[in-house]
Amino acid sequence: MGMTDFKPLGEYDRRAIIDALAAGTLEMPLGHFTARIKAQVNTLVDFLYDTYRDVPVKTELSDVTDISIHLRAPSILRKYIRTQVIPDPGFQVPAVPLPTSMAALAFEMGVNLVVALKCCRFVSCHAGVVANEKGAIFMCANSGGGKSTLVSVLMEDGYRLLSDEFGLLCMESASLAAYPRPVSLKNVSIDIVRQLSGKEWISPELSGTPKGKIAYRRARPDDINKAHLSAPAKLILFPSFNPIGGHYARRLSVSEAVMRLIPSSTNYHLLGEKAYLALTKMVAGAEVYEIAYRSTDESLTIVRDLAVKVGL
């Protein structure tokens, strides 16, 4: 077995994918994780063909998987996502009931939640991460901070995508693991990125979601093929989109950085001292800034300057 059996999802015929999804035997590597996907939702098939077409998959399981996702209907009216793995006694991964048309959103949310709450091999923080051969830029922010836009912009600026939603810190090496998934774009940022990256890289829009309008920027084959390469953080940013305020970059001390990173982690407490050591090691090896900007262009200028400053 092994990678030889995998081929890009786009190269399978639809029937094979549909059957594998129905049987729950569609195996998809996502960076260091593998996912087993079970579903009977056509819109998901469309989404996978569009957004995951370059991702190598198998229609039979070669091994057990880290992630197991099952899209199914609790009622005739709605489909919602339910991961088959419950991270904690009594703790069910929350999921908003979404119409079938939003199966894509449900799928993305579900995978992210399992990775964030269940997978213990990495410290996971809410962060977007991009890297070049010299090192990584780690952008720590909740949704709304313009993180995904920044990630997409930097992808056009010669960086490869490591992750959009969650930065994954390897506890042994204190370096950042790749987890190349579609970058989720909201509302205005969709058009910005479409213009920048070209419309062929953007999924069809989902409107009327709880987050407003959503579209995904596909990971590039190069991002996917280099998914096994980790990168050390050289620049750690706490970005905030601040249309009415000023723009600035404020250097943070080690302790303030750690203080900001820990609350952004989904599993820090679970992992204990190893996570503390990895986190402090990552911070020690990087420069940390809080940045604010009024526009995407401004954010790019600020990040470029800092990247040069730290030798990226």
Binding site: T34, R36, T65, D66, S68, G90, F91, R121, L270
Partner: protein, 348 residues
């Protein structure tokens, strides 16, 4: 669940070679909160993804055990100078004693047993040390219900750490139809070396687990309970099986013991359990067995089974009029209030 999965989970049968079945078994183990226990058995002898998945279970268990040891210290701190030495029950005691039943086991909250005359002081000291009653139970009905009819205080959650203590003063509710002799358990408890805490003897530990599983509360995690009984029974030397029967008689746990032995026979083909059962005068209620089997094995009938167990557990706890009133009130409350949201990993 396939009936023989429990044997796999305790290492009496090998992991399935079929990948899909192995996935399903691991996912079942995770959703039934025994992944860590499966990991304690299998992680050393597997590799690749199976190891990675099991490793997630080990991380969660070690987090829980760390939390537990810390909370043990906090409880001792809260009781300093009071001379009160609470008895650890359930998961807390398995981990504290280093029993096989504790390896990889999830511990979400801590159960302690104190004598009824200490109860007021225990409550006072815990409240003073930062524990508080959950909003969910901090209403007149629940407080009265717990204090008048139950065997424990409403759950206490620490206001900084969010960890939960269940303070028991009896093994079963006052209203229980199973006349368990709580005093016998309390007087039989032994000191936990190096702590101002106590634990039950091996035999009482097994009996208490049986009571908790079959005479108290609907069985929410049958897989975990049966695996627990399997290990705890194995901790009792065959030479002491007679003593087990006698102790069950003294503490009034014949029925739960019989049911537990049935479970060990049914799911682990445990001959010793079978022998003991056949020596046993008291039979096992077939409806109960049906309910447990279906809850464990059969998804389609699980709901009915759960309902049966729910009603039965309350039937065991209280007289019929009180039961009717209670279930009415509860269902009314359910209709009028939303369920409280679950806590994230480690904050249960």
């Amino acid at each position: 669940m396939k009936p023989d999965w429990l044997k796999v989970m305790v290492g009496k049968l090998p992991l399935p070679n079929d990948t899909l079945e192995r996935c399903q078994l691991l996912e079942f183990a995770d959703s039934h909160h025994v992944l860590g226990q499966v990991a304690a058995v299998w992680a050393p002898s597997v590799n690749g993804k199976t190891y990675d998945v099991l490793n997630n279970g080990l991380y969660r268990a070690s987090f829980d055990h760390g939390m537990l040891r810390f909370e043990m210290g906090r409880i001792e701190r809260a009781f300093i100078g009071s001379g009160i030495e609470p008895i650890l029950l359930k998961g807390a005691s398995y981990v504290a004693k280093g029993l096989k039943a504790g390896e990889g086991r999830r511990v979400s909250d801590i159960d302690i047993l104190v004598s009824e005359e200490d109860l007021v002081e225990v409550e006072r000291l815990l409240l003073a040390a930062g524990w508080a009653f959950d909003e969910a139970t901090n209403n007149e009905y629940d407080q009265n219900y717990y204090r008048t009819y139950m065997h424990e205080l409403p759950p206490l959650r620490h206001n900084l750490r969010r960890t939960v203590i269940d303070v028991h003063h009896r093994i079963l509710p006052r209203t229980s139809r199973v006349g368990v002799n709580s005093a016998a358990f309390i007087s039989g408890a032994i000191k936990l070396p190096g702590h101002n805490l106590k634990v039950l003897t091996e035999i009482d530990t097994f009996l208490h687990s049986a009571i908790h599983t079959f005479a108290d509360g609907s069985l929410d995690t049958p897989a975990r309970s049966f695996i627990e009984l399997h290990y705890l029974f194995a901790d009792i030397p065959v030479a002491e099986h007679q003593a087990l029967l006698e102790r069950a008689h003294i503490v009034g746990a014949e029925m739960p013991l019989a049911a537990a032995l049935w479970g060990l026979k049914a799911y682990f083909s445990n001959e010793q359990a079978q022998d003991l059962l056949s020596d046993f005068k008291l039979g096992v209620n077939p409806i109960v067995c049906w309910a447990y089997m279906h809850k464990l094995e059969n998804v389609s009938t699980a709901k009915l089974a759960k309902l049966l167990l729910y009603i039965r557990s309350h039937y065991l706890r209280m007289s019929l009029p009180r039961l009717t009133w209670h279930i009415l009130t509860k269902s009314y409350k359910r209709l009028t209030q939303r369920p409280n949201l679950p806590l994230p990993p480690g904050f249960e």
